[in-house]
Amino acid sequence: MTTRIGIEVSIAVADAVQLCNADVVAAYPITPQTHIVEHLAELVANGELDAEYIPVESEHSAMSACLGSAATGARTFTATSSQGLVLMDEVLFVASGMRLPIVMAVANRALSSPLSIWGDHSDVMSVRDTGWIQIFVENGQQAVDNTICAFRIAEDNRVLLPTMIHLDGFNLTHVIEPIIMPEESEVAKFLPPNKFPLPLNPDKPVAMGSFAAPGIFIEAKWAQEQNMKASKKVIMEVWNEFYKAFGRQYLPVEKYKSDGAKVLILTMGSFSETASVAVDELIDEGKDVGQVRLRLWRPFPFDEFRQAVKDADVLVVLDRAVSVGGPAGPVASEVKSALYNLAKKPKVVSFIAGLGGRDITVKGFKDIITKGIEIARTGSKNEYEIYGVRE
């Protein structure tokens, strides 16, 4: 029997890792990820999760320990946030290049300075090109479900890529939500044992993370790119299997009342649900609007995205990170380049808001969408708009 319980999302994510029977957790605590790894430490200490918990001295070490662990074929989990994520940066590239199936929850938080412990997506955007599969979740249930899916995706021998689950710091990590926790037996059926094809093994020695001369480096990078592209098929297969087993469906691009709508708002993460309410209210007021949410950030779902926005005239994109001095918010930049060569495409209006924990209310989203429609019509001298700054 599956049960629906009221539980803090961080605790639920840790419990999901337990359900997946992780072998190794190497992590360093950082707000707002702390409850995830604290609870995992507790589970290991109490003997409720038969895993090795490696308390390291930094996030750089956490990810390095994860490399070693995943290289032996152990199911490996870590979690971090913000400054911790950027401290890991160097090793993130190594994990993906070495094709090690590590799963990491990232409690999204602003980057210093000024110092902020609150949520935005500047940490995510700084690790965009690290070669990890990246999935956004919007609520606690999605965080639990996608943690389970992430292990199956990452460890699939056709994929073998590290995978990040992005959940908004505080807005998700620290709230108590009703969540259906799957049964251990169901998860065991869904998630096969990790079988890394060439693990570290004294009886069959291999060298990992070795040097590549110019004569082979570009081939190695291209292999990585091909592999990342091919992973999308498996990601969709895993989500489909998950749907069959647990009844909850996930897609690379998810749509809300967007079919046929002339104005779309594109969001990622927990603010998406607020934006949905704003869309409902605008529809009630007679506006022709809908919403598109990016769940899969890497590999970028080009086909699904283009399909989802093909009939729209205006696409308002919300970014919760700034590319200082750049052309737009990082998501809007990607979206623009995904659309640029199409003959028929919506006008993209880039909005930056919700930085460093600043809330965007339903009214805020309504303002953003309304202003976006106006800007699409009149044009603007700005590369992007910032919403909510006191002038």
């Binding site: 290049g97 070495m98 094809p197 060439l198 291999v206 060298a207 990992m208 993370g209 081939e219 292999a223």
Partner: protein
Amino acid sequence: MAKSEGEMTWKDLEIGCIVTEPGSARKYQSGTWRSQRPTYNFNRCIKCGLCSIFCPEGCIGQNKEGNFEADLYYCKGCGICAKECWTKVITMVEEEEK
């Protein structure tokens, strides 16, 4: 690694470039980097082996006369052996010179 580096396509690489063949670095021809090459006056060689200890490529071994000599497939021409040899057996010469 059945194919040489120059023949390998991206499809030939093991996942994550894992090297499954022990000692495969032996195929790597660092000798192509060389602009200078060691030449020898073995009359002065006392066969102490010091040059082979200092060689960063580890490419100096004993020839059939027992003298220490570089394997030019690997020798990158750094000249360390020439500097370290106390009896001045080794002279570095430009590759173009005979």
